[in-house]
């Protein structure tokens, strides 16, 4: 009997008590996070997530500490780094210093900020080292992109604003369904409307013009 009550109490405690304070806030949607917290409070830092205290695991080894939590950083283990989480996303890339951003990232140069407004990559991505987007302290980490990048030029930018895709995916590509599905569908629906309209009216107008030429000629002959 007492065992049973104890078990039930433990289960109830697990279910009912709040998460321990070390539990970190995680949100699936940056947009709903923005609406539920930041929009009302205007404060964003409170919700920042710091990296877990991983440093203790590599006591004293500065080299390994730097890359901790990144994936493989041990050079003896010949596996690539996961560059999505590095503090210097170009670490170890040969001849990096001697090349231009567009040489290696040609697709990323095709954005309106660069092409039309003359904004350079570094104005958004910052000086060396250029952190991976998802590195904890990256200026382009979604949690602080709007304050650390966008609002330099767009003063008052909110997290929702930073959801604008600067490097816009090609709306015609099927892969866009994964990033911005609405963009893909809206694009093709609009294209379909345009194609239908012209498929109907261009032949229609052309036939009409041709027909009228003959219409008058016939009439003149009758007279």
């Amino acid at each position: 009997m007492r065992k049973k009550t104890l078990c039930l109490l433990v289960i109830a405690a697990v279910i009912l008590l709040p998460d321990p304070s070390i539990g970190q806030e995680e949100v699936a949607s940056r947009y709903y996070h923005y609406r539920s917290t930041e929009m009302s409070t205007g404060i964003y830092e409170e919700y920042e997530v710091r990296p877990r205290g991983i440093h203790a695991l590599f006591d004293g080894d500065k080299e390994r500490q730097r890359d901790a939590g990144i994936s493989r950083s041990d050079e003896s283990e010949s596996r690539a780094w996961n560059r999505l989480f590095l503090n210097d996303s170009h670490r170890g890339i040969a001849f990096y210093e001697y090349r231009r951003c567009v040489d290696c990232h040609p697709g990323n140069a095709q954005n309106r900020h660069t092409v039309r407004y003359g904004i350079t990559c570094r104005q958004c991505h910052g000086g060396e080292p250029i952190a991976s987007i998802n590195h904890y302290f990256s200026r382009l980490n979604p949690i602080r992109q709007h304050t650390h990048v966008c609002s330099k030029c767009h003063s008052g930018a909110k997290a929702s604003f930073a959801l604008y895709a600067v490097h816009e995916p090609n709306p015609a590509r099927a892969s866009t369904i994964d990033s911005i599905p609405f963009l893909f569908y809206a694009f093709w629906i609009m294209v379909a409307i345009a194609v239908l309209t012209f498929a109907l009216f261009i032949p229609h107008t052309f036939m009409w013009i041709v027909r009228e030429i003959f219409h008058r000629e016939k009439k003149q002959r009758e007279e």
Partner: protein, 270 residues
């Protein structure tokens, strides 16, 4: 003799819509093609890349106001109908008759039957009207959304700006291609109207050719005894010159935009 198809108010609206549409087309296409010389030429009269956007936004707001006034105008027209139906022969609302007219018209084009007698509005004119109407809603709506990305991203998630931008673009291309190719061809190029249908400008439509094309409408006007009130002599020379000047400059600009747009299509980062 000339026939008055449109009231002064309607012609004024058409003129304002036309001028603002051309400004939007020039500044919009200019910015779209800003990387090419073609785009730069279009932007020059508006003071370059950044100033053209100011024009584009102001004229866009003007068009939305125009649209608002037009909505009020429709409501007044609808109220003044009293017991008459809004689906009457003078109505711009498409009905089943238009479908039949279109089939007969196509039949005439391929030589299967005689040309159908059109009423006041041909089915293609009704299509033009409603295309502009919904175009106004779609382009105007997305345009308003793009007006200030900071405000609109506070209402909707930021990626909707990417979506709105593409809808705005494609609908604008659709509208321009329709006006500069199809609308202009029907109002200027076909033999019936060549070189220009002046129904929307000084003088009005040509009565003889209207009798041929809009037989149903003309005979209705004759029956109701209204035909004489709607006909008049042609305008004097100045009215004629101004009409042709407006019409032909619009065509030139439209063709320049369309041809330049197609030729330079591959030089632009979309």
């Amino acid at each position: 003799m000339r026939l008055h198809r449109f009231t002064l108010f309607q012609r004024l609206f058409h003129l304002l819509l036309m001028v603002s549409f051309l400004v939007q087309a020039t500044t919009g296409v200019g910015r779209m093609y800003a990387e090419t010389n073609f785009g730069k030429v279009l932007l020059t009269p508006f003071g370059g890349f950044y100033n053209a956007l100011v024009w584009h936004k102001l004229v866009g707001i003007f068009m939305l106001v125009l649209f608002g006034v037009h909505l009020i105008y429709i409501m007044i027209v609808a109220l003044r109908l009293r017991e008459r139906s809004i689906m009457g022969p003078d109505s711009i609302i498409p009905n089943r008759m238009d479908m039949r007219m279109m089939v007969n018209h196509l039949g005439w084009m391929v030589g299967r039957n005689k040309i159908p007698p059109f009423e006041r509005w041909g089915y293609w004119e009704k299509f033009d009207y409603w295309a502009v109407f919904w175009g106004m809603v779609i382009i105007g709506g997305t345009g308003l959304f793009l007006y200030d990305p900071l405000i609109s991203s506070a209402i909707m998630p930021g990626w909707t700006i990417n979506v709105a931008f593409w809808i705005h673009r494609i609908e604008a291309i659709l509208a321009m291609a329709h006006v500069f190719l199809i609308h202009f061809a029907i109002a200027h190029l076909r033999r019936h109207n060549f070189p220009m249908d002046r129904a929307m400008f000084a003088g009005g439509a040509d009565l003889e050719s209207a009798k041929e094309e809009r037989a149903a409408w003309i005979s209705r006007l004759e029956q109701e005894g209204r035909l004489n009130n709607l006909t008049s002599r042609d305008t004097s020379l100045p009215g004629l010159v101004v009409s042709y000047l407006i019409g032909f400059s619009a065509i030139l600009l439209g063709l320049y935009v369309i041809i330049g747009g197609i030729v330079n299509f591959r030089y632009v980062t979309w």
